[in-house]
């Protein structure tokens, strides 16, 4: 028993501003992550956040509207603030972990692609995400990030739904 090799697991958790993803993160900490000093499992937790891309408005737009640089800058600043607050919230949930390394990564772009690329880049063994729990129609219009990731990511995907209270 003593000479069992140490198993390293890289767990990627995709977070966004929603409560569901924070619930998924806490579920993951309670149920999946091993925070023990002894034992043969060493976990690394990677928090991945996708920031929506900076929208570019061209002057050839039919309406003739062109956002001034100030507006675009303030939108960008807001998006960075949202990213920082989400990462802070997620890190706060993880603050009690003593033997698990916590890493945070922020990517810019469409959530689906950002998450898939990040998992590959980071070499994740498993991706954990929350799900908004949309019905069929909402899914058709809003799209589902968790659905897309579950189909396209190379590693196993764990989808945690927040139970309706």
């Amino acid at each position: 028993m003593a000479d069992e090799e140490v198993r390293e697991r890289r767990i990627v958790v995709a977070v966004d501003e929603s409560e569901q993803s924070m619930y998924a993160l806490s579920w993951c900490l309670e149920n999946l992550v091993c925070d023990s000093e002894s034992g043969n499992v060493k976990d690394t937790l990677i928090l991945a956040f996708a920031r929506p891309p900076r929208t570019v408005y061209t002057a050839l737009d039919g309406t003739g509207y062109l956002f001034s640089t100030e507006v675009v800058d303030s939108m960008e600043k807001y998006s960075l603030e949202v990213a920082a607050s989400v990462i802070a919230k997620a890190t706060a949930i993880c603050k009690d972990l003593k033997h698990v390394k916590v890493d945070t990564k922020v990517g810019c772009g469409d959530a689906r692609d950002v998450i898939c690329d990040m998992v590959e880049k980071v070499g994740g063994d498993i991706l954990v995400m929350g799900s908004h729990g949309y019905g069929l129609i909402k899914r058709a219009f809003l799209g589902s990030v968790s659905n897309h990731c579950a189909q396209n990511v190379k590693c196993p995907v764990l989808i945690v739904k927040k139970p309706k209270a």
């Binding site: 198993r7 697991r9 579920w27 900490l29 309670e30 149920n31 999946l32 992550v33 091993c34 925070d35 023990s36 034992g39 499992v41 063994d125 498993i126 799900s131 968790s146 659905n147 579950a150 189909q151 190379k154 590693c155 196993p156 995907v157 764990l158 989808i159 945690v160 739904k161 139970p163």
Partner: protein, 153 residues
């Protein structure tokens, strides 16, 4: 992490199910509480092709098809149980008759599992629309978290 969790693994005869079992045993070892529930959904036998010739399916045919299916199920579950035993995990086997999607979700609820593990055949979007996807259905309808394992290319 608190106490160990009750985990149910839904398997069928596909390769990816076998891979999901092996992967789950290695990755989830610290979390699995004994016993690990191995669930196999037996599809309802379809006799539509027989009606053309006979009018109604003869009882012996129905019986022999059902026996054959039961044998396949038992062999599959026994093999899975052995794989678990090899890794030092006690497994309990279960089977239900019916459409896999509904039956898996119902069983997960009945046994109050904390995590459901499924393999995914990795169908394309078009194939999914026509053939349906059990893992997709379970992700949306199961009350507990679902872990979908794909076989790496």
């Amino acid at each position: 992490m608190g106490e160990k969790k009750k985990i149910m693994l839904a398997i069928d005869e596909s390769d990816v199910s076998h891979y999901a079992l092996e992967w789950a045993l290695s990755f989830l070892k610290p979390t699995i509480s004994s016993p690990l529930l191995l669930f196999h959904a037996q599809p309802l036998p379809s006799f539509s092709y027989v009606y053309a010739g006979y009018g109604t399916a003869p009882t012996e045919l129905i019986q022999s098809v059902q026996e054959h299916q039961t044998k396949i199920t038992e062999a599959l579950l026994e093999r899975a149980k052995e794989i678990c035993a090899r890794e030092g995990v006690i497994a309990e086997t279960l089977t239900e008759l019916g459409d896999p999607k509904d039956v898996i979700c119902a069983a997960a609820e009945k046994f109050g599992v904390d995590l459901l593990v499924l393999g995914s055949r990795g169908l394309s979007t078009l194939q999914r629309t026509f053939l349906g996807s059990v893992s997709n259905y379970c992700v949306h309808h199961a009350k507990c978290p679902v872990l979908v394992v794909k076989k790496p290319a």
